[in-house]
Symmetry: C2
Subunit: 336 residues, 2 copies
Amino acid sequence: MNPPEVLAWRDGHIEALDQTALPHQVAVLRITTVDELVEAITRLAIRGAPVLGAAGALGVALAVHQGGREGWDGARLEAQLNRIADARPTAVNLRREVSAVAAHIPHGRQAVEAAALAVVEFATAASHQISRRGAAYLREACGPGRRLRVHTHCNTGALACLGWGTGLGVIRALHEQGVLEEVIVGETRPLLQGARLTCWELGQLGIEHRLAGDGAGPFLISQGLSDAVVVGADRVAANGDVANKIGTYGLALAAHRAGIPFLVAVPESTIDEATPTGAAIPIELRADSEITVPAAPAGTKALNYAFDVTPADLISAVVTEKRLIPNGQWLNVPVP
Amino acid sequence: MNPPEVLAWRDGHIEALDQTALPHQVAVLRITTVDELVEAITRLAIRGAPVLGAAGALGVALAVHQGGREGWDGARLEAQLNRIADARPTAVNLRREVSAVAAHIPHGRQAVEAAALAVVEFATAASHQISRRGAAYLREACGPGRRLRVHTHCNTGALACLGWGTGLGVIRALHEQGVLEEVIVGETRPLLQGARLTCWELGQLGIEHRLAGDGAGPFLISQGLSDAVVVGADRVAANGDVANKIGTYGLALAAHRAGIPFLVAVPESTIDEATPTGAAIPIELRADSEITVPAAPAGTKALNYAFDVTPADLISAVVTEKRLIPNGQWLNVPVP
């Protein structure tokens, strides 16, 4: 799979792989308006924190284009940018990249496009750095010379992050280095990004993997079936607490008790110094029907949080494109 | 719902509610042969450890009837009883009740039927005792005078256990005592017994409840959304380790960290002194397709354990129809 197929800028519009259609169909969305972009983000056709950041960046270029066609004034343009920034609440990347690229608006459309494309290119390069650094950490932490079995959750590959991805990028680096034995993938209810997307990406890459129910993850870890857990994150708070797809917290508890590494792989842009702790991270509460259809009796209410927060003390390390931050040393590892 | 509808003996055959058809359809199976019974148990139309015990008991009566019709010799009858006992591997109840009722075979068909019906009646009475004792424990453990929010997993009501059930019986007792605020139900992938069966039973009883994904459970507990966790069990080892539906272990880790009670409600028959620890409990590995269909790419392999094992140190108490065994006092609470 060629990364530009995940998300690309095509002469005034965005092309994006429709991630809701995978794995059964490879469909490309042609997005020409802010409305279409917001809709694609909301229904998770475009998803994954770093890809959301890139989509936010390209969204500014799209809004400037659409504004030019339709003669928007500054207030209208700003309102549309806010709609993009607010399309999903949890990942900090979306709002951050919208703001960063919007700062170029006074310099004209070409400057905006260049800034947006730079965000995409940077995300791709960062994923490679994260992948290599994370793989080196796991090889060291698990004991050199071993073939590793890695548990992961949700989707953190090219589909979510461009390039190699973050968590799945670490796994891909282990695979290319010949030290990966198997990946165990949590299906990631309710939207099944693990089953649909991660299994698809691992299959494309020829990486051995097995799919497990989300409830099974902690037990499989307790039984010694994994040597490490690797996940991405949607936001890392200033104290090292990590917001990620619901289900992450239970895996961290299990890894902690089993004494295996729990690695969080993120771009620096996911670390939000403005959020003091995990308690300050807004957790998206999604539609009941994602959980209740089709199995529950009609009218059943649900409690459908999309993310959870894992306290910093349960995390072995956070790896970014610039640094490796081990447990307990959060404040001692400056950005190089 | 009238308990005899879950499982009943009708003049030479078994009637059983088809639990795979719920909640959309209330269908009653008429089971007249051992083949039909084994098939109903294997595909989980009849399920839940105590109901499996009762089904095993009635299965002996059924085999004796069928053997009488078809002129089986002793070896043929014994082979058929073994098929029933082996239809599911994890719950100890099935094999135990088959053996117990089979001991009456030398005394004739009427003795066998009476013994089998006694198993059903005993399970019903035991569920009421478990329910009341468990509710009293939780009211005390959570602080008297509070309205409780309880997290549960899988299905442990009348459908699984006859009478009031075990875990769900405790919840029903809290409800009847006016001290239950809400139940949070884990959907219990892959077969969704929480979503399909527990939500249906709670709806029938008029008990407030919300459905959550299995991965969400540990996080919801960490956020203070539940005051206690109550589950049933398929087998309790001699050291207090508990085998229960996959997903239980992660809830126990979360309850332990949150400092809330984690109560296991079982009939005494679920406690297996012959199994020294959880490590000796065989864990059923079920078909990949339960996990991979319909979301994963074709050909994806799965790791589909049906149960997990929760170590005794994570469990606040085990409650049975005869005793309450608090954490750490496993060997000090004799059967009264």
